[in-house]
């Protein structure tokens, strides 16, 4: 396959970037999208040019590091996967592929296609935990039975890999789905109840401070989430926040 690439190149956070065109031949259908970029980079290096930097690590769809906007969609045209799970068989010979970094004020570009997602870490630090000492002696794991449905829903919320596709897809660059997923995971478990009110307020507050946009319920995040995290979680967070705030 021969493909045409338009890739965002930017030297560092302070410089201005621009789209650069590349042509790549000999692309195979079985290649993953990132392997295609590997091939491009090998070519660039052999020509003495700087390779395209992009975030990636586990290459099996779970670490949440890879983060490319491909032809206007986070993680590319297929649903429920990350870029590293996208294969070139999803494209055709002669296609033009536009590759850009996530765009959000809260995710500044570091270099080329790499963005800074530490805003997500700070949201988690604001309350995404249960305050139980690791060095303590907690009760037996089976002391508190948890209804299977609740446990499963909590798990479904906890599957968030923190990739940021929700922010990238949202026309408002809102981080509601990310934040709501963590709030929901704990809100659904008995262990999470004690700090529930503080948790949701602190996490939402931090989310606002980071400069993410407001949620307007377009649902784009849910569609693009590689783990299929549901909008129900956002509703749950809205509910939790409302009751937490009203109760003071």
């Amino acid at each position: 396959m021969k493909i045409y690439l338009k890739i965002w190149r930017q030297k560092n956070a302070n410089s201005k970037g621009n789209m650069v065109d590349y042509t790549l031949e000999g692309v195979e259908e079985d290649m993953s999208f990132l392997e295609m970029l590997d091939v491009l980079n090998e070519e660039l290096i052999s020509k003495g040019e700087e390779p395209v930097e992009f975030d990636h690590d586990c290459r099996e769809g779970i670490c949440g590091t890879c983060s490319l906007m491909i032809n206007g969609r986070p993680h590319g045209p297929e649903s429920r996967i990350t870029v590293c799970q996208l294969h070139m068989r999803s494209f055709n010979d002669g296609d033009t592929i536009v590759i850009e970094p996530w765009r959000a004020k809260a995710f500044p570009v570091i270099k080329d296609l790499i963005v800074d997602r530490t805003a997500f870490d700070r949201i988690q630090q604001a309350g995404g935990y249960i305050s139980v000492n690791t060095s303590g002696r907690p009760v037996d794991a089976n002391a508190i039975p948890i209804e299977k449905e609740m446990a499963d829903n909590s798990f479904a919320a906890a599957t968030c890999i923190g990739c940021g596709a929700c922010v990238a897809a949202c026309k408002n660059a809102s981080a509601m789905l990310f934040t709501a997923a963590k709030v929901s995971q704990f809100a659904l478990l008995p262990q999470g109840q004690v700090e529930a009110a503080d948790r949701v307020q602190n996490m939402v507050h931090q989310m606002d401070l980071e400069g993410f946009g407001n949620c307007t319920n377009t649902g784009a995040c849910e569609v693009e989430c590689p783990k299929g995290i549901s909008l129900e979680n956002i509703a749950r967070m809205n509910r939790e926040f409302l009751s937490a705030t009203v109760k003071g």
Binding site: D30, T65, P138, N142, A151, G162
Partner: protein, 667 residues
């Protein structure tokens, strides 16, 4: 060997850990505030250690090369975490978990350490549930378990196919709590480039800020390395792309012994290689072997026809299939330990029975399980005489509920529907049992330098059982290291802050910048990946699943030569004072090129087959591993002497007081 003191406490096995905890020195809470600890790596071991140390009152700095601690590769562990809870009432106990782990490790691990691991395993589950880790549950609301290879009980706790991610997020959450309290300072996109020793003690690190390229000095009273394994040595592996041995290797070069480097685990159920472009291999949980049956064609001509696409696996009659694991190991069948399953696959493929284009794949077939589950479901739903299509449909639904995400992943990568045609699998490098030598306190041979999780060599011997890596990482981090480190730090309460303004730091920083300069200025002709791939080929072909003296000797020479070539001809574009992925990779590959040689030397010296280390010269007539307890019942700890080839071997004899050494049999 006086130099290697394992410090395993005396006394009965079951009392050792309690006794040790009672006897070691502690640091009082007020003094902990004056002590700084660096933790490198934020996976299960590093993350949990950092959180617990901070909670105890120490000042912790964590370092990871990823953009967030949450992305460490522990996240990719799918199957589960073992714990001797005996919730299923199937006869499990701490002793049985201990025994299984020792036996699974082919009697090359330390009794005291493994018993402690089994003992604290139950705390892990309690701890994680308290932290809100959403483990799978039964309808009654209690925790569910499943079984894994190499054992006869169900003791594995899991969270669908992403137990690693859920456990890591638990540790990350515990870290976040301490970051918010100001007790942990988290440095992300930072890579440790050297360990700094002052008066023979580990007192800090040199790290590179990967975004700005800045070289930074960080001092501390102790340094914990929780930097994972070194399987990326093979280029193709199930490791994440960034996994590297740099921190451990730098410690090794500063005096930490490296133990059993050749003990590598090759995981049997990975997706086979599709072509030269391949950058990594994808593992599918071993839990698939609970229901999948592994086979190759019985006749060579059928295998050939399948490879050439003339025959479909589904067309092959039952009697023309060779379920070789069930044939060779009737007791454990498809659930034999990983090393055994991997080698058996290689044996069949080498004999010409491989089933994909490259001839390096075997089938993992779910059709029997689908029909079995389907029939059961049909009966319980009150269907009297369901037709095959209905049974198959019902069965597929059940298999989907159990393994849906794995099947989907397989289909995405291979573009074949595993419900309709058997999966193809082949072994891939997955875990390294070897690592920095540590004593019972998890301290390396450098005072004040600790190693936890996969980075150390301690608990898995020559082979790790499934679902034991998560167990060990969390046991080390939450329940062992935070206490044993106090024994060392109790001498440091009057030391005061460690200054980085010392000749030792100056020299370490100079060495680091010189090395970077050297890499940048080689300005050669080949990319870093070019060397990495070549190293990987040597490792896979000559130091892989089956090794022999001739190949290993060749490998040693070839790796040394490749290393020389690398330093002369590598090409690293860009600059050193900016984000530069090629420079990062170059530094890591340079280390692999040294470790590879030591790896081959270790494999060459160990004239026996045990666990993941299989020497073709040492096998039974049936092709099973032939261990030599008389000569090799020890951990091989290598001391660095200026060049990998000059490394000096030290032996820690493994004393078995509680377990009788047996030939490992899964027949």
């Amino acid at each position: 060997m006086a130099v290697l003191d394992s410090k395993v406490p005396s006394g009965p096995l079951a009392d050792k850990w309690t006794k040790h905890k009672n006897e070691i020195d502690l640091v009082n809470p007020a003094n902990k505030r004056n002590i700084d600890i660096i933790v490198v790596g934020t996976g299960l071991a590093g993350g949990s250690a950092a959180a617990t140390l901070a909670e105890l009152g120490y000042n912790v700095k964590t370092f990871c090369y990823q953009d967030s601690p949450r992305r460490a590769h522990s996240i990719a562990a799918q199957g589960g975490v073992n714990a001797a809870k005996n919730y299923q009432g199937d006869g499990d106990s701490v002793y049985r978990l201990f025994y299984d782990t020792i036996k699974g490790g082919d009697y090359r691990s330390r009794e005291g350490n493994v018993y402690r691991l089994a003992e604290v395993s139950t705390n892990i589950i309690d701890q994680c549930v308290a932290q809100g880790v959403p483990f799978a549950r039964e309808y009654g609301g209690l925790l569910d378990n499943r079984s894994f290879g190499g054992v006869l009980v169900s003791r594995t706790f899991y969270a669908k196919g992403q137990t690693g991610q859920q456990l890591l997020l638990g540790a990350y959450a515990a870290m976040n709590r301490q970051i918010q309290r100001g007790k942990i300072k988290s440095y992300t996109r930072h890579e440790m480039l050297d360990l700094v020793l002052v008066d023979g003690k580990a007192r800090g690190i040199i790290a590179r800020n990967l975004v700005t390229g800045e070289i930074e000095r960080h001092g501390a009273h102790a340094v914990v390395l929780a930097t994972g394994g070194y399987g990326n040595l093979f280029f193709l592996s199930t490791y994440c792309m960034g996994a590297n041995v740099m921190a451990a290797w730098k410690a090794h070069k500063k005096g930490a012994f490296f133990a059993n480097p050749c003990f590598t685990q090759i995981h049997p159920t990975c997706i086979p290689v599709s072509g030269d472009h391949q950058s990594k291999l994808t593992l599918m949980s071993e839990s698939l072997r609970n229901d999948g049956r592994i086979w190759v064609p019985k006749k060579l001509e059928d295998a050939q026809a399948i490879r050439e696409g003339r025959l479909k696996p589904t067309e092959l009659a039952e009697e023309d299939r060779d379920y070789y694991l069930e044939r060779r190991y009737p007791a454990f069948g498809n659930l034999v330990p990983r090393d055994v399953a991997s080698r058996a696959a290689k044996e069949r493929c080498d004999a010409g029975y491989g089933v994909n284009k490259t001839g390096e794949a075997v089938y993992l077939d779910f059709s029997a399980a689908i029909m079995r589950y389907g029939r059961e479901k049909a009966l319980t739903s009150g269907m009297k005489n369901p037709d095959d299509a209905t049974v198959r449909k019902l069965g597929e639904e059940i298999v989907e509920a159990k393994y849906g995400n794995l099947f989907q992943m397989y289909e995405k990568i291979v573009d074949q529907n595993p419900y309709k045609t058997p999966m193809m699998i082949y072994p891939a490098v997955h875990y390294t049992m070897g690592g920095l030598w540590v004593d019972y306190n998890l301290m390396t041979t450098i005072p004040g330098c600790y190693a936890a999780g996969e980075a150390n060599f301690s608990d898995h011997g020559a082979n790790r059982l499934g679902a034991s890596a998560l167990m060990q990482g969390l046991a080390d981090g939450y329940f062992v290291l935070p206490y044993t480190i106090g024994d060392y730090l109790s001498d440091d309460i009057r030391t005061g802050p460690i200054t980085t303004d010392s000749p030792e730091f100056d020299e370490a920083e100079r060495n680091v910048t010189d090395r970077i300069q050297k890499l940048m200025s080689a300005n050669g002709i080949h990319s870093v990946d070019h060397y990495h791939k070549r190293l990987g080929k040597i490792m896979w072909n000559k130091c892989g699943m089956a090794r022999n003296a001739k190949d290993l000797k060749e490998a040693i020479g070839e790796i040394a030569e490749l290393r020389k070539d690398f330093w002369e001809n590598v090409k690293v574009p860009g600059s050193a004072d900016a984000k530069n992925q090629e420079l990062e990779k170059a530094g890591r590959v340079a280390d692999f090129l040294e470790l590879g040689e030591l790896f081959a030397m270790d494999a060459l010296h160990r004239n026996e087959s045990c666990g993941g280390h299989f020497r073709e010269e040492y096998q039974t007539e049936e092709g099973e591993a032939l261990r030599d307890d008389e000569h090799f019942k020890y951990a091989a700890a290598w001391e660095y002497r200026g060049d990998p080839s000059k490394s000096e071997l030290h032996k820690e004899d493994l004393v078995y007081e509680n377990i009788e050494l047996k030939t490992r049999s899964y027949k």
